[in-house]
Symmetry: C2
Subunit: 203 residues, 2 copies
């Protein structure tokens, strides 16, 4: 199991699974993969997800772009993101640790990511007795960024624009990267859910 390792290095990774809820899901996903600028990250697509690895800022840039590029006003789209401080074992990924923290998709994410998303996420810290305090700090960053964190079973809920949410993830992971030896952020980002429409009808 490679979700951590004894000789960790500074590579960050993200697995992203896109779920466009439509018959024509496959071409929808492939189009978004193609439209995303991945010059700053190592990438691989498998049965479950697309995986980006590299510097934290570049990985979040690619992950955010993959979701924003898959957005379509008529489609209920969900993205599952697993961000983690990465593990060694693949030199192709390590080569992207250039120290440049490039974000080639940044402008596009800001321009396109104006739609409102709902998010649930959990932040996991390993090998630390004080992990609850670290989680509380990560949630406080969301509050400071206006994402209105709310508690639910096993997760925290957030709401804001796609661009805001991914800017928060960047800030949270920058903190984690500096302070924590091993962490995982599991986030689910949802847009155009029919449940949301039903909820507002009942208000």
């Amino acid at each position: 199991m490679e979700n951590c390792s004894m000789n960790q290095i500074d590579i960050t990774g993200c697995r992203i699974s896109l779920y466009p809820m439509k018959d024509d899901f496959a071409s929808h996903i492939l189009r978004s993969i193609k439209e995303t600028d991945t010059t700053a990250v190592w990438q691989q697509t498998d049965l479950f997800s697309t995986l980006y690895r590299g510097e934290a800022a570049s990985v979040i840039d690619a992950a955010a772009a993959l979701f924003v590029n898959a957005y379509d006003p008529k489609t209920h789209l969900v993205g599952e993101f697993t961000f983690s401080k990465g593990c060694p074992g693949d030199l192709a990924g390590d080569a992207f640790l250039s120290g440049k923290h490039e974000r080639p998709n940044h402008q596009q994410i800001t321009a396109k990511g104006t739609f409102i998303v709902q998010c649930k996420y959990s932040f996991y810290v390993f090998g630390r007795e004080d992990y609850m305090e670290e989680i509380a700090h990560i949630v406080s960053l969301a509050d400071a960024m206006g994402l209105q964190p709310q508690s639910a079973h096993y997760v925290t809920l957030l709401s804001g624009t796609a661009a805001q949410l991914f800017a928060y993830f960047e800030q949270a992971l920058a903190y984690a990267h500096e302070k924590l030896p091993h962490y995982v952020l599991e986030g689910t980002v949802s847009v155009n859910s029919p449940s949301l429409k039903e909820a507002s009808l009942h208000e």
Copy 2:
């Protein structure tokens, strides 16, 4: 953030998000929720997931049934499962800790769950320095059950029938429930992925 708590009790929970990749996803999900026997668990459906809480065996029984009932040979279906030793804060859930470990869907899961699934999962342990050893033990249980665990970035991959996979989850969580104060198992279960077809065409 309620993904853990200082005064934990013995309640297990699971969030399940179903992604049937088709235009008519909403009725597909609702039908499966309706067909699942939830007499042994507390339940709630929100924007992201259906949540079951109660005794570990009963929660896995309901979660497995929800997936198996949503199976359809023509639909690419993905289920995201977050199992966790639960947290207090809701008495409705606690009332289901009867000590009976009921599995009202068991027969149906065994009968219907004969289709092959692909799974990626991660097992997370908190507040323990020896968390790597616990992860290794959980993976060794999958090996013993013939699910052929393979390492990938941030996850372990498994393959087997749906019934086998959920039987393994039950075994893994029984171990975790007994030995560990706080854990999360994040699993993604996929069936009928077109990527799988492409992969076998290239073999």
